[in-house]
């Protein structure tokens, strides 16, 4: 225990104190590249080190990254706003004279980006802890896990469509191998393949959308900042092109009816992989709607968003109903995660400062909550050697601590005030109510009560889970002797994540302020429904 704490705390503080200066003087230290480079270094070190050190190296690097993420959060200058820590390196510039490809390696974060990078760092750290007891092919496991983190960090930080796409595709393949080799369940290979094919098919639409935008702009660049400045000056980057992006990002954020990869994938994925994937990679869908689709094509987006809102609402409600009927513990959680993603998309569709802020907070909080939920459920299923609800039951007797934690997690999912889920969902629904008044889209006023219904359903299926898994009579007498409560190292990541959720729930101001730095200019740029 002492060793583990040392390995966590030392690099964490090293990461936190790795740079002191303010953002403006930061040009000499590429903070954002470090986020990408650090997991890559973990990959290389694990590759060279013996098997038994794999988890130590990954934990060390991931806590360094967490420290870096915290420092990023605190040293982002809220008074200045906009993109900070920007790195701009020309990558492939010219192909002949007339073909400026406009591919720059440019990274940067604004308020929303900072929040998301922090959430990835937290999930990466928690995932490394959760994978502590992986026994099969440790080396390969930790290599792929860190590679997944490389892709996700890169996608969140990119300010260039090419690199956004590159990092996103980069993160797909490690997930395939993680699910295919370390997954659980009978159908893990099927699930892995389905997930990969779906995500790649989604990326096809993204790709076509990006290129359509690229050729529609007269300057031919993939730079997101330049393109969104262009669209602010009134140049239309294509009215229908936004559809490609909607489909692409929709697959990623498991929008109905292209969500079916998600329950299968998360049902079979190893715990840490589903934490990173469900927690943060899936959020990339909503994030890139805000970062790419809305600022680049405001006219198209404004026209189509109400239709997307209906799908998003369907996501929330229908997935909650589907979750009610599941017989597999992990599938319930997967559907619950999709349902929460629906709330994010619905918040984006309101095109209202409150609603969009709610969406961003929900992105962050979903990242945390989905990660805890998957961590906890993975732990319980691993201890019970099954994820069938019919075989589980009465675990409160043999694992009281985990049962208590699950109760807290369930409440966070339901959106109990004081936990992070509440803040996001409250703002989303407030936003949709306001949007009904401001934009004349009274449809939102009709829609949002239906959305609230999904919260009730969430409570229903989480309480059902709580009852079936923890509070019924113990179904398998063997469990009483065999199943033990969580150990320190197993509970640590769950506790860390829960504390983060609690902090946001109790004092959301810094987080909302941070996301507002992105959202208010964005709404100013798009103009809302008017």
């Amino acid at each position: 225990m002492f060793q583990v704490l040392t390995v966590i705390l030392l690099p964490l503080s090293a990461g936190f104190f790795s740079f002191h200066s303010t953002a403006q003087e930061l040009n000499f230290f590429p903070v954002l590249s470090t986020f990408i480079a650090a997991p890559m270094i973990a990959v290389l070190l694990v590759l060279m080190a013996p098997d038994k050190y794999a988890r130590w190296i990954t934990l060390l690097i991931s806590s360094f990254v967490l420290g870096l993420g915290l420092k990023l959060f605190f040293s982002y200058q809220t008074a200045v706003g906009g993109f900070q820590f920007v790195e701009d390196v020309p990558w492939v510039n010219n192909l002949g004279i007339n073909y400026n490809l406009g591919i720059n390696y440019s990274l940067g974060v604004d308020g929303m980006g900072t929040l998301m990078v922090l959430s990835v760092a937290i999930a990466y750290f928690a995932g490394a802890l959760v994978s502590w007891n992986v026994s099969l092919r440790k080396k390969e496991y930790f290599i792929l896990f860190s590679l997944l983190a490389v892709g996700i960090f890169g996608a969140y930080e990119s300010l260039n469509l090419f690199f956004f796409f590159l990092f996103y595709e980069f993160s797909i393949l490690p997930m395939y191998l993680l699910v295919g080799i370390w997954g659980t369940g009978e159908r893990k290979e099927y699930a892995a393949m389905k997930m990969t094919i779906y995500l790649l098919a989604g990326s096809v639409f993204m790709f076509v959308g990006f290129l359509a935008v690229y050729f529609a702009s007269n300057v031919h660049t993939f730079d997101i900042r330049t393109l969104s400045d262009l669209s602010a000056t009134g140049l239309s980057l294509g009215f229908q092109n936004v559809w490609f992006l909607f489909v692409g990002f929709g697959v990623l954020s498991a929008l109905f009816p292209i969500h079916t990869w998600s329950p299968d994938g998360y049902g079979s994925a190893p715990t840490a992989a589903s934490m990173l994937h469900a927690g943060v990679l899936k959020n990339l869908g909503g994030y890139s709607l805000l970062r790419i689709a809305l600022p680049l094509m405001p006219d198209g987006a404004k026209h189509w968003l109400p239709y997307l809102a209906i799908l998003a609402l369907f996501n929330m409600l229908y997935m909650a109903i589907v979750a009610l009927k599941q017989t597999n513990f992990k599938h319930v959680i997967a559907y619950s995660s999709i349902s929460h993603c629906g709330a994010i998309l619905f918040g984006i569709c309101t095109l209202e400062v409150t609603g969009l802020n709610g969406a961003v907070i929900q992105l962050f909080s979903h990242g945390i909550i989905a990660a805890i939920t998957f961590a906890l459920v993975g732990l319980v299923c691993e201890k019970a050697h099954t994820s069938e609800l019919s075989k589980l039951g009465g675990f409160a007797a043999c694992m009281p601590v985990l049962a208590g934690l699950f109760m807290a997690v369930a409440m966070a999912n339901v959106g109990l005030p004081g936990l992070s889920g509440f803040v996001g969902e409250f703002l989303v629904f407030l936003g949709s109510y306001q949007s009904g008044f401001h934009g004349g889209f009274t449809i939102y006023q009709i829609l949002f009560p239906i959305g609230i219904l999904s919260i009730v359903l969430t409570a229903v299926y989480y309480l059902r889970l709580l009852q079936m898994v923890f509070f019924e009579k113990i179904k398998n007498p063997q469990f009483k002797e065999e199943v033990k409560d969580g150990s320190f190292i197993e509970i640590l990541p769950i506790a860390v994540l829960l504390i983060v959720s609690l902090i946001i729930g109790l004092y959301p101001k810094p987080f909302v302020d941070m996301s507002n730095l992105t959202i208010t200019p964005l709404i100013g740029h798009i103009g809302g429904f008017k």
Partner: protein, 487 residues
Amino acid sequence: MIQVQAFLPELWLVVTAFLILVAELFQKPDSTRIFIKGIAVVGVLGSLLSLCCVGGCGTCPFSTCGSVESLPEAFNGFLKTDGLALFFKFIILSATLLTLLISFRYFKANPTNYTSEFIAILLFSAAGASALTSARELITLYVSLETLTISSYLLASFMKKDKTSNEAGMKYLLLGAFSSALLLFGFSYLYGFTGTTVISEIGKDLATQVSSPLLTLAVIMIVAGLAFKISLAPFHMWTPDVYEGAPTPITAYLSVASKTAGFAAFVRLFWVGLSVPALQPTWVGLFGVLAALSMILGNLEALPQKNIKRLMAYSSIAQAGYITTGFLAGGPLGLSAVLFYLFIYLFSNMGVFLAITIVYSKTGSDQIEDFAGIWKRSPLIGVVLLVCLLSLAGIPPLAGFAGKWYLFSAAISKGYVWIALVGLIFSTVSLYYYLQIDPPKPQLERKTRLPAIEKHFGRLMAEESCNSERKTSIQWHKKERLRRKEG
């Protein structure tokens, strides 16, 4: 005036080939023919180096010949080597070199007495392909194309005691001859319309003419004839059979060098000769349909394949479709995307075929099932295979990703969004079958204790030592196949 530089690479190849044929006379029947192999490698390397002189890059200390302004030409300008031809030649010659190296390995597993003849024919074929890239005239183009293909017929049927190899050669010969006839038919119409066989003159002459049904027919014939050579659907029927039956190095050679030569002919003929307003919409539309069909059929038919060489055949059909997408977009962006992709394709495909050859030499089988657990049995080959296959599938950060990005962005820049969409969606499908070859199946590994293929890199060099091991491995795989058939 004849400038030797214009056909220096071909000269190297042909001279080397004849040297090998002569040297063969002095070899003992059961010798390992190290000397001949040495000559062959030196010859191809020399030919690659001679590209430097052809280019006239101006920096070469050994030659003062040629500059970018005055391209070397020979035979009344019928052969003229420009940058485009150089790049194509580089791909073709590299492919030849790699094929040679793979074939040494292949003939260790399948000994034959005709190694020298094999090498000589391969070099003749490469000379044809290489000459094709700088041909500026229809007859020259046709003759070099036939040098390439007739040698390929021989090479495909080279394992004369093997039934499938014979079948492959016969099929290739019949269909190839048919397609050549179509091509000549089209050429003769072109000549009839313009009165010249020089491609640039044809372009000038046609620019003044209006479209006519016969001219369209000529274009269709030419497209069909050449589409056979690069196996674009629906002219791809021969590909799986030939690729399966031909010796593996030749499959690799056909899939890279022969295809590259075909694209060189396409670029010359269509973007120089036939890129006139009267004809361009016709053939661009035609190529659009062919590309889409190849990407759809190639990827879908690859799914149920059990034999890895057949699978690679369908994969290469799909790849031809992707490349055609960039080709029909044209312009600097499209054509450089084609060249770039061919360059990547060379290495990815050759890597896969090298892995196939090595696995075959140890297991005596090309069935995909026998690749199971290759991760464990030979980590090095497993990784090489995985990287090459993922590059073919276009997964970043491998080169195939950048290649596909350029190809499809070229198509979208010219407004062919639908072709790009078809290509991209079906390239998603391709990931499924590529990953089937190298799947992560730890259960399978634990169930059956598969014999190792080659555990250590050192063994790759000294594989003579494990001949007995190889025999047991082949026997094991035979038994396993029988068991599967019964069960």
